[in-house]
Symmetry: C2
Subunit: 357 residues, 2 copies
C-alpha cells in the first residue's frame, strides 16, 4: 500500500454503510490515548525527544518487533505529505485537525482499510483510533484493545495504579478512552427535539458535537455523540453507557421518522427529490449546501422514498466534495468559486450514474 | 370549434413564441373600447338592455349579418361556462378578471386561434382585443381595426366628433385604444435597473404592470407595458410611442444580458440549471415558484445556455400550471396542497420530454 491509496480514494471501512442500526448510525469510533514513560508530553518535547517517540512507535508497529495487527498498516511521517494530503486525512477523520496544524515531528499509522489509525505526537504520544461502520462501539473497542496490546509489547506506557493511563490533558486521564458514534438525525432536527435531547445527553456524561468534532458545526443533520469522562469508570462502563444512550437516540429518531412520514409525506418527498434535482443540475455548490443535500438524499433512503443511492455512495459523496479532496483531484490550488464549481461537477457526475426512479 | 377547444388546450396564437424581438417580447396586445349608441354603460344597464347588447353583438359577428372576420370565431355566453372555465379564459388573457366577476349578461367572442377576443358588457359594451406573439403592435392594431370595421357595419357606436369614442371610464375616451406588450426582463430585474426605467416610462405616458395587468404582481420577471392616455393622440401616435419605448427597453435588456453573461456566467448557468433540476424533480410547487422557475428556463434559452425548451413550450408551461387549468385537468375542486402537487406533476411530465443537454 502507498499513501496514495488513502489519499486518492474516498472510501474507508467506516464509510461502508453497513453494520447494526445503519439507518441512523453512520459509524462508531473508539480512541485510546497513551503516552510513553520517560518522555514529556508532546507540547513540551524537544525535537530529539519527539523523534525518539516517532521511532519507538515506528518500531512497535513493524513486523521486526513481531507486531501482529489484525489489519495491514502503513507508517506515514506527516512531513512527507503535502498540506492538501494532510487535509485529506482530516477530511476522512483519520487524524484530527489539530494533528496537522504543525506537521513537524508527527506521524500517523493507517490501516489499509482505514479501520485503524494511530496518531503519533498529537496531544498525546499515541492515539489509537478504530473506526467501524454502523453501531459497533464494542467491536471498535475490541480492535483498539488488540492494537493497544501489540504496542504495549514494545512500548512502556505511562501508567499510574491510582489514576490509570496518564495523558496530556486531564480530561483523558484514566482509561484514556473516548468512544463516539456519528449519527444522522434529520427527523429529530426537523421536529426540533434535538435541543432538549442534547441537554439530557449532557447530564449522562456524554457530549454532542458536529461532523468534524469539537467546535465544528453540526451540518447535514450529522452529530457525534461521545463520552466526556475517562476516569472513574471502567472501559466497559464507558462503552456500555454510550451504547445505551445511542440506542435510545436511534429509537427516538426512528419513531419520529415514522410520525413525520405519516403526517408530512408530500413535504418530505418534495424535499428529497428537490435535493436530487439540484444535485443533478447545479453548476456551483458550497460545501455546506452539498452536505445538506447529501443529508436529504440519505433521508430519502432511510425513509424508503428512494431506493438508491446506497449508504456507501452517500458517505463517499461527503468525502469526495470536501475541499482538500477537490484540490487533490484538480491537481492545483482552487479559489472558492472554483471549489464550488468542481464540487457541483463531481456531484453531477456521481448522480448521473444513479437511477432513483 | 367548441369552447372545449379553448378551455382544454394551453396554446394560443400569442403563445407561439414567434414574431419580431421574441427574445424579449412575449406578446403584443391591442384593445379597442366601444359602446353602442342608445344604451347606458354596462354598470347602469338593466338586464333587458344588457341582453339587447349581447344579441346585437351576437348578430354583428354572425355570418347572417355578413360579418367577414379574418379568423373564425365563436360566441360564448359566460353563463354557459363553469367558474373554472371562466377562470381559464382569464388565465389565457382572453378576458379580464373583472369580466368574470359577475358572469350574468356577459359574453365573449373568441377566435379559434385565440388571436382575437371580444368581451361583451365588461366595463364597456364591446372590448375588441387582439393578441399576437412577439413585437407586433401595429399588426395587432391592423387586425383590431378590421374587426372594428366589421362590427361597425351593424352596430351604431357611441361617438362624439369632439371627444372620439365614448367609454364608461374617462381614461378610455377618445381612441378607446390600449396597446400593450408583455416583456421578459430578467436581466434588468437582476441588475436592479428596472425601478429607474419604470419611472422614465411613466413620464412617457406609459404604465408598467405585472403579468395579469392592473394591480397584479410582477412575477417571473414578466412585465406589461401599455399606454395610459387614449385621448389627444391618434391611434398611430399611441402605437408608435409604445413601439419606440418597447424597442428601447428591448435594447437595454439585450445589452444587459450580454454584460451579465460575460461577468457572471457560472452564476447564471447555476441558476438556470437549478431551475431545470428543481422542476424535473419537485413534488410540490406553488404557482409563484413555478413562474419563477419557468422564467429562469426562458432566461437560459434567451442567453443560449439552453437550446430547449422552445419559447412556445415555455409559454405553455405558464398557462398549464395556473390554478383553473389544474382544476379543469383534475376534474374536481383542489385544495392548495393538491394544486401544488398537481402543478409539480405536470411540470415534471412536460420537462421529462425535454432534453436540455
Amino acid at each position: 500500500m502507498s499513501v496514495e491509496n488513502t489519499i486518492g480514494k474516498a472510501r474507508s471501512k467506516w464509510m461502508e454503510g453497513t453494520g447494526p442500526d445503519n439507518d441512523v448510525v453512520i459509524s462508531s469510533r473508539l480512541r485510546l490515548a497513551r503516552n510513553i514513560e520517560g518522555y514529556p508530553f508532546p507540547h513540551f518535547m524537544s525535537e530529539e525527544e519527539a523523534n525518539h517517540v516517532i521511532n519507538a512507535v515506528r518500531l512497535a508497529v513493524s513486523e521486526k518487533a513481531g507486531a501482529k495487527f489484525p489489519v495491514e498498516t502503513e507508517f506515514i511521517d506527516l512531513n512527507e505529505l503535502s498540506q492538501t494530503e494532510r487535509q485529506i486525512l482530516v477530511e476522512k477523520h483519520l487524524v484530527s485537525p489539530q494533528h496537522i496544524e504543525s506537521p513537524a515531528n508527527r506521524a500517523v499509522v493507517i490501516a489499509h482499510d482505514e479501520s485503524l489509525s494511530i496518531m503519533v505526537n498529537e496531544e498525546d504520544h499515541i492515539r489509537i483510533q478504530c473506526f467501524l461502520p454502523g453501531l459497533q462501539i464494542k467491536e471498535a473497542w475490541r480492535l483498539a484493545d488488540k492494537i493497544d496490546d501489540v504496542l504495549e509489547k514494545t512500548l512502556n506506557y505511562s501508567f499510574c495504579e491510582k489514576r490509570g493511563y496518564l495523558t496530556s490533558c486531564p480530561t483523558n486521564v484514566g482509561t484514556g478512552l473516548r468512544a463516539s458514534v456519528m449519527l444522522h438525525l434529520p427527523c429529530l432536527v426537523m421536529t426540533k427535539q434535538l435541543g432538549a435531547m442534547v441537554n439530557t445527553i449532557s447530564q449522562l456524561g456524554l457530549a454532542v458535537r458536529g461532523y468534524y468534532g469539537e467546535g465544528t458545526e453540526a451540518y447535514g443533520d450529522l452529530f457525534q455523540v461521545s463520552n466526556q469522562v475517562t476516569m472513574g469508570q471502567t472501559e466497559d462502563e464507558i462503552v456500555t453507557n454510550l451504547l445505551t444512550v445511542t440506542r435510545q437516540i436511534v429509537s427516538q429518531e426512528r419513531s419520529t421518522r415514522k410520525v413525520v412520514l405519516k403526517n408530512n409525506k408530500p413535504f418530505l418527498e418534495d424535499r428529497i427529490y428537490r435535493a436530487f434535482g439540484v444535485m443533478s443540475y447545479a453548476r456551483v455548490m458550497t460545501a455546506q449546501e452539498a452536505i445538506k443535500n447529501v443529508s436529504d438524499l440519505r433521508l430519502g433512503v432511510e425513509l424508503g422514498i428512494l431506493k438508491t443511492p446506497a449508504y456507501d455512495q452517500i458517505n463517499e459523496l461527503i468525502i469526495l466534495t470536501r475541499p482538500a479532496f477537490l484540490i487533490k483531484k484538480a491537481g492545483r490550488p482552487l479559489n472558492a468559486g472554483e471549489l464550488d464549481a468542481l464540487r457541483a461537477e463531481i456531484i453531477r457526475e456521481k448522480l448521473s450514474k444513479i437511477n432513483i426512479n
